[in-house]
């Protein structure tokens, strides 16, 4: 029995040899990589890049850097949409709003939705406009594609996606196990040009710690050619050396370290602050009307001079204090 081949387009080069040539040139020295988000995005995110974002939709996301990408009018990006929710929503603000076209190509696993919160009207407008090219995947298969790259391979097998239209609109292939004859899905490695990951703690060289679920970020940090880290807190290198078992991402994968307290706001940061559901609802609501949405974006995204200004417009420290209480269940009397 034969199956139709997948027809989706591959937006990145899966060649392991090509990746090796790049990684050969990546510096290994311990050097100070601390810089502003604006500088990191200016230097490391380039028009036409393939971009991937860490975390999970609105959980542990590098909000400040995503804002900055739209603010700096980065254009023509490819994007890895594995459960991309609020991050995707922000990027879509760079499409159909007079900011040119931030997103040009998307590897889709989950986009336009915000999980239980509903669908993003503006992200749907963008994706239904026909102006963004898509290839379909799933959350796990996109994770496997990053794992293949993290391992320095051109592909990895897995067992999902077979038999479906998701497969048909992907760029995967079908192979047979050389040992057992079992049918498998072959997934091309995904080496993003640039990844942005928000973590709890990092030293100035880029050694990072993450609390809670790591989603696909350990592989993403290793797979990407350039990596921007935003962190809740800079910590001394000495603290990293005190417990090397806790290092989730090593410095030699990292190109920039930006200290952004509350950097996942309005998303959730495990152990730090819960998501601001009111602000996320406001965002969804404002998207319903295009003109109203442009004003909203002006106020919350384009006008703020930096991320602290954005936080201030969202309620500032008092709001953040309440989200912290909610995260730690202090409001339940614990």
């Amino acid at each position: 029995m034969t199956f139709p081949a997948a027809t989706g387009r591959l937006f990145s080069d899966p060649s392991a040899n090509a990746a090796r040539e790049f990684f050969r040139t990546k510096p290994r020295a311990l050097r100070d990589k601390v810089m502003s988000v604006a500088d990191a995005v200016r230097d490391l995110v380039r028009d036409g890049d393939y971009l991937a974002i860490g975390g999970f939709g609105a959980d542990r996301i590098p909000t400040a850097a995503v804002h900055e990408i739209v603010r700096q009018r980065k254009q023509n990006l490819s994007f890895a949409g594995h459960t991309a929710t609020h991050d995707f929503q922000i990027l879509c603000a760079g499409n159909l709003t007079g900011r040119g076209q931030t997103l040009a190509r998307v590897d889709v696993a989950y986009i336009v939705g915000l999980e239980a919160r509903g669908l993003s009207p503006h992200a749907r407008r963008v994706m239904e406009s026909g102006t963004v090219e898509c290839t379909e995947w799933t959350n796990y298969t996109l994770a496997v594609r990053l794992k293949a790259a993290a391992m320095g391979l051109p592909f990895l097998p897995c067992r999902s996606m077979l038999g479906t239209d998701t497969f048909r609109h992907s760029a995967a292939k079908i192979i047979t196990c050389p040992f057992t004859g079992e049918t498998l899905l072959a997934l091309p490695a995904l080496y993003p040009d640039v990844a942005i990951i928000h973590v709890h703690e990092a030293d100035r060289f880029g050694n990072c710690r993450i609390r809670g679920t790591t989603v696909a970020d350990l592989d993403l940090a290793r797979a990407a050619k350039r990596v921007i880290i935003t962190c809740e807190r800079l910590i001394p290198n000495e603290e990293i050396r005190r417990e090397p078992s806790l290092t989730a991402i090593p410095f030699f994968c990292v190109d920039a370290v930006c200290e952004v307290p509350f950097g996942s706001y309005p998303g959730n940061m495990p152990g730090e602050y819960f998501s601001d559901e009111e602000h996320l609802q406001l965002w969804l609501k404002m998207e319903e009307d295009e003109e109203q949405y442009r004003q909203f974006l002006h106020h919350y995204l384009f006008e703020p001079k930096d991320f602290n200004d954005y936080l201030q417009r969202c309620g500032g420290l008092e709001r953040l204090r309440r989200l912290r209480a909610q995260e730690l269940l202090l409001h339940q009397g614990r």
């Binding site: 999970f56 999980e115 026909g130 959350n139 999902s160």
Partner: protein, 259 residues
């Protein structure tokens, strides 16, 4: 009258909870599936092992998560790991149940959560896509679908098979290379509980909820259904299950207040 004692969402959650065997594992999302798993743990399946696809394992959920990856999903959990670790636990054959939903479902239990329309490049309606649904339906032993029952959703042919049910019928999953022995197990709606016929793999009504008749189900389904003979009545939730659901699982009535 039954309607006074519980609403349709309460019945759906309680029916789903009863399906989860003790000592087995389940991957849940937010909302009703999570409520069902929490209820099962507090009633008939105290040793139910709960996973969230972003990496949360066996939390003591203080409230229902808003996201499959938020910090509630590993609050006082036994492990906070990666998405791949959870999916590979499924791929190894250690995940018994997964809960899914979708914008469309067909008679073979195939689900669409990608798009409405016939032109992929220019969808009439763009939905989120698979997320982890395709993976879970490919890799877990039994899939349970929780969804509202209406004709727009229960269609003869889904516009896009995002997530595999029995695909085109008996043997199709295996022929496509999916792991054998898995597939949709139950579909729980506001009207009925359905399974899948052993030989044809088509959807088959197993029980009607109290007060629902066959005609209602047929009117709200866009394809011919098979019918168990005799048709059972779905067991109504016990008082104890309703109490736990209302007081402990969903005290703010986020879910059960919707009906």
């Amino acid at each position: 009258m039954a309607a006074a004692r519980y609403n349709a969402m309460e019945l759906m959650i309680c029916a789903a909870a009863q399906m989860l065997e003790d000592g087995r594992s389940v991957t849940v999302g937010t909302g009703a599936p999570c409520a069902a798993a929490m209820l099962a743990q507090r009633t008939t399946a105290p040793n139910l092992l709960i996973f969230f696809e972003a990496g949360g394992v066996a939390p003591l959920l203080p409230t229902m998560p808003i996201s499959v990856g938020d910090s509630r999903t590993f609050y006082r959990g036994l492990m906070a790991t990666s998405m791949a670790d959870v999916m590979e636990t499924c791929q190894r054959g250690m995940m018994d149940y997964a809960f899914l939903g979708g914008a469309q479902i067909d008679a073979f239990g195939n689900l669409n959560s990608t798009m409405i329309g016939q032109n992929y490049a220019r969808p009439k309606v763009r939905f989120p896509g698979s997320g982890g649904a395709n993976d879970l339906a490919s890799l877990c032993w039994r899939v349970i679908v929780l969804t509202n029952h209406d004709r727009r959703r229960f269609v003869e042919k889904v516009d896009f098979i995002t997530t595999p049910g029995y695909l085109s019928g008996p043997g199709a999953r295996e022929a496509a290379g999916l792991p054998p022995g898995c597939g949709p197990y139950r579909v729980i709606t506001d009207l009925a509980v359905m399974g899948f016929d052993e030989s044809s793999k088509r959807m088959k009504v197993l029980s009607l909820h109290p007060g629902v008749d066959r005609k209602q189900v047929e009117e709200r389904t866009g394809f011919p259904l098979l019918w168990a003979d005799p048709i059972d009545e779905t067991s109504p939730p016990s008082d104890e299950a309703l109490r736990i659901l209302r007081e402990e699982v969903d005290p703010h009535r986020y879910l059960i207040g919707r009906c």
